[in-house]
């Protein structure tokens, strides 16, 4: 029983290490992800639904990447992209919903 457990734990460590190793981002990964997130932010802005902090997060991501912490920079970019995309969804959803709120 103990040995099975030990095998499982070892496996988990092994695979986690594999995944982490494989996902170590490169500058190229970062630039691509950054461009996508920034495009989402801009699109949300054109629809009037850019969120307050998205540009700030992207700026922070750029600084973090420049400082060499690409992993952290990728996380920030992912957060900014989520915000941009959520703003786009919000704009589309609100296009149908706002009129229901008008005082009648």
């Amino acid at each position: 029983m103990k040995s099975i457990l030990r095998t499982i734990v070892a496996c988990v460590f092994f695979f986690t290490a594999c995944v982490v190793g494989a996902s170590e981002p490169t500058a190229e990964d970062f630039n691509k992800a950054f461009a996508e997130a920034n495009a989402a932010r801009k699109m949300a802005g054109e629809l009037g639904h850019e969120w307050r902090d998205t540009a700030k997060i992207l700026r922070k991501a750029q600084e973090t990447a420049t400082a060499g912490d690409l992993k952290k920079a990728m996380e920030l970019v992912a957060e900014a992209k989520l915000q941009g995309e959520a703003g786009i969804v919000q704009a589309k959803r609100e296009g149908a919903l706002w009129e229901g709120r008008v005082i009648r």
Binding site: G45, G48, H49, E50, W51, R52, D53, T54, A55, Q83, A86, Q90, E94, L97, W98, E99, R101, V102, I103, R104
Partner: protein, 278 residues
């Protein structure tokens, strides 16, 4: 059979049209004002121009004490000086406005048919400056707020009466302002209306939310929080940012249309600027 189909199609067409038929601005205004008068039935109609103090009796007293030595007094004096100081070319603001610029705050915002856009008092002031070779003022605070404080002061007691001329562009500007007001924005997903219609009379954190009726009557406003006088569009940006939406440009099309709609909703009330708020 063909006739039947045509009939059906026609029926669908009219049904479709009637569901998208928009309420007129006047229907909107009546419903808007009724809503607040019913919700706050103790508040006399004329008192809605006092914002949150129309419904918050404890802080109303503090506010009335403040008004005895109003913190906007200095801004008013500076505004009068700015108003009377000629441009480099010798002309003054009086040359740009009706009645020499005195008691005309109520002429704004209006829809200008030639320019095809909503003209606010602030925009008119900067158009005046630029036409006279002066640099435009910045739109949120400082000189523009002082000058409009003085101009508003000379217009106290005038009635809000925004007109929407019979022109599709004017109606579109109104509709855009209306849509803006009822649209949720930002990470916190709030519409202006969520706080100032549904939420009015309730609390957000420690702040009591004011009714939106009368919301534009007293600007520019001296806010204790700002420690200075600021414009309506500065307030709009603040309200956008607190729900974590990116603010729009002061005097950009979005906020001017919003001002057009929101001021129209208060037609019938009096101008009482400048004001003071927390």
């Amino acid at each position: 059979m063909k006739k039947l189909i045509a009939c059906f199609a026609l029926g669908c067409f009219f049904a479709g049209v009637s569901t998208v038929a928009l309420s007129t601005p006047e229907e909107d205004r009546v419903a808007f004002q009724n809503y607040y008068q019913t919700k706050f039935s103790d508040v006399p109609y004329d008192d809605f121009i006092n914002g949150v103090y129309s419904i918050d009796m404890p802080s109303r007293e503090q506010w009335q004490t403040l008004e005895e030595f109003p913190p906007y007094e200095l801004a008013l004096e500076q505004g009068e000086t700015i108003f009377n100081t000629p441009f480099a070319n010798g002309k003054t603001y009086a040359d740009c406005f009706d009645n020499g610029g005195i008691g005309i705050r109520q002429n704004y915002p209006y829809f200008d048919l030639e320019q095809g856009q909503v003209i606010t008092l602030e925009l008119a002031i900067n158009q005046c400056r630029e036409a006279n070779g002066e640099k435009p003022f910045r739109y949120k605070r400082g000189k523009i707020a002082e000058l409009t404080a003085y101009m508003a002061y000379t217009s106290r007691g005038e009635t809000i009466n925004v007109v929407i001329p019979d022109d599709p562009r004017a109606l579109a500007a109104y509709e855009m302002g209306k849509k803006f007001y009822y649209t949720k924005r930002g990470q916190l997903n709030f519409a202006c209306a969520d706080c100032h219609v549904g939420g009015s009379g309730g609390y957000i954190r420690t702040e009591l939310l004011s009714p939106a009726l009368g919301h534009t009557s007293h600007f520019p406003v001296y806010r204790l929080k700002w420690g200075a006088i600021g414009t309506l569009h500065r307030r709009f940006s603040g309200c956008n940012q607190q729900v974590r939406a990116k603010a729009f440009k002061a005097q950009g099309e979005e906020y001017r249309n919003l001002e057009y709609f929101l001021t129209y909703m208060s037609n019938g009330l009096e101008y009482n600027g400048p004001g003071v708020r927390k």
